[in-house]
């Protein structure tokens, strides 16, 4: 086995070099052998003149020393970054119960991204017994931790205080600076998420998504008598709280941009109608002025002032836009087809939606002001429930192909389609606030079938089930808090 590994490795540099893995590097090296006397364009001539001028102008001494050796690296490795999180140091007796829990939640957050890999605690050589003591970097290098997170926790009068530092083990430096969070004791999980968000930001340069909540439909009971109610939870499935009872069917809740309201579809009146719920007061009402008897698939505009949704009239389903403050809804699509599942671009200028106007479900983009939609999906199968990434670069969707369902992403022009999951029934993607992770529902088939929430990173490497007390479907990710 090791022999074959050696063979593969040995062949690599040659292919990398010749085969163009580092093209420009190779070129600059070998191009020098190109024989003289090729045609001499004006542009080249100018470049040459300039170059000669520059060469004369520069002091020859620096060149005489050879200058630095220049190397270009174009091939890296895609691999989770190894980090270590020892238990936090309990600074007061009352804090000891949190010392380990905090570290575990932080580790779960980080590892769950697929970007980081935890060095198991059994492998640790150093023990961190004091938060202020110097870090033994060599010990952490030995266990191949690239990043070390140290923390401490203190408890006083029902409030806990968490401090942490992030260390680059090989550089032997601190990344960013120490930070402290405080909260009431029952909010310790949020403290852990806040720490993890900070670590994530320092390691990736991007904002995290751990201190965020997800609104979803909690499901219980058998498939033909499924009870559904709206619920809200931490992104990792903890702290589930219910927003409605299960007397009527509720579907597809969607957070407002700042998380204070939730749009959803309820059968409370007998027909599906778009409702709006105030998360603070847990009061809901039918969205005023929504035209049509059957309205569903609502979503907020990025500024929270408008709602886009679909309305069924006769056999036709079209997309409408209305101001949440009032006013008449505006019809945006006019074909006799099923146009539904609209979602705004993050700049609020365009809407992506699904339509079967071509004969089967496909994805289209139209300007918010109306106008001819552009079809963006052309692959085989059917495409539905498009959702625009908060970063604006990608659209997540549900795809049906050959009896299977996939969650996938494509660029906004439809190119670079990439399927991230596969199962008998996946649907309803929603983006994490930083656009790096997608949550969706997965239903197992058959009489015992249940629906659960899953998350997958946008590269498709880390697929994780989100543990909820009951079944779950139709997740919608809220903002980072």
């Amino acid at each position: 086995m090791s022999k074959s590994a050696a063979t593969i490795r040995a062949s690599r540099p040659a292919s990398g070099f010749v085969g163009g893995v580092s093209h420009r590097y190779a070129k600059s090296d070998e191009g020098r052998n190109v024989p003289q006397g090729k045609r001499f364009g004006m542009k080249q001539l100018m470049a040459l003149c300039l170059a000669l001028l520059a060469a004369v102008a520069l002091p020859a001494a620096t060149q005489a020393q050879g200058g630095p050796l220049r190397i270009e690296i174009t091939e890296g490795t895609i691999e989770p970054m190894a980090y270590a999180v020892p238990d936090f140091v309990a600074e007061t007796p009352g804090a000891s119960q949190y010392a380990q829990q905090l570290a575990r939640v932080v580790a779960d957050d980080l590892t769950g991204t697929g970007l980081f890999r935890e060095i198991p605690r059994e492998a640790h050589i150093s023990r961190v017994t004091s938060f202020e003591a110097p870090v033994q970097f060599t010990d952490w290098r030995t266990v191949n931790a690239l990043v070390l997170l140290t923390g401490s926790v203190a408890e006083q009068g029902g409030r806990i205080t968490v401090k942490f530092r992030v260390w680059d083990v090989f550089a032997g430096t601190e990344l960013g600076q120490g930070m402290q969070f405080a909260a009431t004791a029952d909010g310790w999980r949020r403290l852990a998420h806040k720490v993890a968000d900070q670590v994530y930001m320092r390691l990736t340069g991007e904002s995290g998504y751990f201190d965020s909540r997800v609104v979803f439909v909690s499901e219980s009971g058998p498939k033909d008598k499924r009870a559904k109610r709206l619920a809200i939870m931490d992104y990792d499935g903890a702290n589930v709280q219910y927003l409605t009872d299960s007397r009527s069917i509720v579907l597809a809740p969607r957070f407002s941009p700042n998380g204070d309201r939730v749009l959803y579809t309820s059968y409370q009146t007998g027909e599906p109608r778009v409702h709006i719920l105030n998360v603070g007061s847990v009061q809901s009402q039918i969205l005023p002025n929504a035209s049509g008897v059957m309205s569903f698939a609502p979503r907020f505009s990025p500024d929270g002032s408008k709602v886009v949704y679909s309305v069924t009239t006769g056999s036709n389903t079209d997309i409408y836009l209305m101001d949440i403050a009032g006013g008449a809804p505006r019809q945006l699509t006019f074909t006799p087809s099923i146009d539904t599942a609209p979602s705004f671009s993050p700049d609020g200028s365009r809407i992506v939606f699904e339509s079967d106007r071509s004969g089967a479900q496909q994805l289209y983009i139209m300007p918010v002001g109306g106008g001819e939609p552009t079809r963006i999906s052309f692959g085989q199968g059917r495409y539905g429930t498009p959702v625009w990434s908060p970063r604006g670069d990608l659209i997540a969707f549900t795809k049906q192909l050959s009896g299977r369902f996939h969650i996938g992403v494509m660029r906004t022009d439809g190119s670079e389609e990439r399927l991230l999951t596969a199962s008998p029934l996946d649907e309803g993607p929603t983006w994490a606030p930083n656009g790096r992770v997608i949550m969706f529902s997965r239903e197992t088939l058959g009489a015992q079938g249940t629906s659960s929430l899953y998350s997958v990173d946008v590269a498709g490497r880390k697929l994780t089930r989100v543990r909820t007390p009951d079944g779950g479907s139709d997740p919608a990710w809220g903002p980072l808090q």
């Binding site: 006769g314 079967d356 088939l445």
Partner: protein, 177 residues
């Protein structure tokens, strides 16, 4: 306010519907469930009023006439068999003109949630328009779609999916009765 009163009426209507037909989404048999006896027509003395043998009863409608029609995958066109069932429904509604009907459209689970609501609406609407074309007053009919939310069969085979792709005519006593 108008919406609210409308909603109130709808709720009441639905409540009535629920009274007449408790297990609306149950797998109650369609046509040809062995109640052929009802076909001999007329309210004869031996028939219990309200039972499936009473041609004027909702039970007769559900079981003998057949309260549901089925559809092909991703389709909302009515098959010849479906049209025959709906002819029977139209007949019954003409005879018992104090009843109202709500047509519920459904889809199997092989589709996304939103699309299936729209698809169920297409099916229910096709059914309703057929009944109207047979002379039923439009104001006695309305439809609603449940998408894939209320399957009657739960297996993951086509046999079950076929039964879930349906439009069910649920009758209720009208205001005049």
């Amino acid at each position: 306010m108008k919406i609210f009163s409308k909603a109130l009426i709808l709720t009441i209507a639905l409540g009535l519907a629920a009274c007449t037909n408790g297990d609306r989404f149950g797998a109650g048999g369609g046509a040809g469930d062995g109640y052929g006896a009802g076909a001999n027509g007329g309210v004869s003395g031996g028939i219990l009023p309200g039972s499936a043998n009473d041609p004027r009863s909702p039970a007769y409608f559900n079981q003998t006439v057949g309260d549901r029609v089925l559809f092909a995958v991703d389709q909302s066109t009515l098959s010849a068999q479906a049209q025959a069932t709906l002819d029977g429904q139209a007949q019954w509604l003409m005879t018992n003109n104090d009843y109202l009907a709500v047509i519920e459209g459904h889809a199997d689970e092989q589709g996304t949630r939103e699309y299936n609501i729209a698809l169920g609406a297409r099916r229910a609407n096709a059914t309703m328009e057929y009944l109207i074309s047979k002379g039923i007053a439009p104001n006695r009919l309305r439809f609603v779609s449940y998408g894939k939310e209320r399957p009657v069969e739960v297996c993951a085979e086509e046999a079950c999916y076929a039964k879930n792709r349906r439009a069910v005519t649920v009758i209720s006593m009208g205001m005049g009765s």
